[in-house]
């Protein structure tokens, strides 16, 4: 049965596991196969052509594993490869950008939205274009915040240095009187506490991991693809390279122990 097939999720590295975690919280009965392209991480600074090539290779691998749908749990790959994959793959393909955009549009009251992400995501203008298309009279303020990924990976989630880095990045957004801040990077949910603390309670943080999980749940239900299994589902992780201290980091992102971690070549 197609319903019982696993979901396929991929990212350039470990970050997409925050999306997996959000899916698991919402749909604990779904099996998940995750591919982290750790041999070629990060995608952030790479060219669109290269990112499309990598994304195609990964999607073909996930398809060969019998997944029923593919979630691109990576903002850079969502920005550059989603249309191509939706056209090429015989499976439903989801990105993280659209759900984040929709949630931000529901959240904002004053129409002033901030966006933070890697340099690649911000320069791709993926969020800015999608937001502006949906509602042309918004005021958008985008900041590349490339130091936040290494801060998360170093597990410096609440150090004085981290706060100073965050304050430095967010000062122009706060001065622009945003009421909504889109976390356009799958690593950032781990910094949510610090970010909320720096921006204050008046600003709504939108994290696309949760928004993507909700969007996916609706789609699976409407299309009769939701798993009916009552048994224990789990997360199987495939990597293109085994990074140092990976399983430790994976558990921090996933908030559970994966069923297996395996290295594959694509």
């Amino acid at each position: 049965m197609k319903q019982d097939a696993p979901l396929g999720v991929f990212d350039s590295g470990v970050g997409g596991l925050t999306v997996v975690q959000a899916i698991r919280r919402l749909m604990p009965q779904e099996d998940i196969i995750y591919l982290g392209d750790t041999a070629r991480v990060p995608y952030g600074g790479k060219s669109p052509d290269t990112i499309r090539r990598f994304s195609r290779e990964i999607s073909i691998f996930l398809q060969s594993q019998g997944v029923k749908a593919i979630v691109i749990a990576c903002n850079t790959a969502s920005a550059h490869a989603m249309e191509m994959l939706q056209a090429e793959m015989p499976l439903p393909v989801f990105g993280v950008i659209r759900p984040g955009v929709e949630t931000a549009l529901e959240a904002t009251k004053n129409g002033r939205i901030g966006i933070i992400g890697t340099t690649g995501t911000i320069l791709s203008q993926a969020y800015q274009k999608e937001l502006a298309t949906e509602r042309p009279n918004l005021h958008l303020f985008a900041e590349a915040t490339p130091l936040l990924v290494p801060l998360v990976e170093e597990n410096w989630l609440d150090r004085p240095a981290s706060r100073l880095v965050v304050e430095e990045y967010l000062t122009p957004l706060l001065a622009a009187r945003i009421d909504t801040l889109v976390l356009a990077c799958t690593h950032y949910p781990l910094l949510k506490h610090l970010l909320q603390n720096v921006v204050g309670e008046g600003i709504r943080l939108v994290d696309s991991a949760g928004a993507t999980a909700l969007h996916l749940q609706r789609y699976l239900q409407v299309h009769g693809l939701a798993s009916q299994g009552g048994g224990e589902a789990g997360v199987r992780i495939f990597l293109t390279d085994m990074p140092l201290q990976f399983s430790h980091m994976a558990e921090r992102f996933l908030q559970e122990k994966p069923a297996s971690i395996e290295v594959v070549s694509l």
Copy 2:
């Protein structure tokens, strides 16, 4: 003439250009071909096998360009791939670790040496083993400092947040009363000013870029391989992917304009 052949230098990304810059300052008559493996950067967290495979591919490319010697301007690749390349390649191959170690041994008076680098370099114990073999009674204090590479790439060379990050990392080394600090990462020369400022003038900073250039100069002279050309030499850069804003960053690391920047597949 072999003397007039270019030198081949490689790194996982842009960092090795600090080694190129040091070579150029010392030997401006040498042509240099640089390969930055930007499609697969960073090497720091990747497995030794993967790093050896990448290093072999790159060395074969450099050989096909007619270089007279190969410099591994990357600490991770020096740690894992140097012996293999020295055995396999029909050319002299140099790494950055040995010259850094020799300079540190000359510099220390109290035998207490600190080492900072990426997690990969520190966990590989490459510097620690080489130092301990040379002089068994040293006291070595190694710290992985993974946030420093992104700080350099973000060009945050003297911000308050950068100082706080550096202070946090160096506190245990200062408490251990080191008199010498090895910068075991090719990005770190750009932070030299801030690092010196934090540790104070009493501690000698050893950067392997300069040490490697000196080592190479001696070798070329002794073996009759030094270029005799009086003309203008230059740096040709090959990349495996064109990262965003690369040429800007390359000029900061290189302190000159490269003759060309080209993308190749290996």
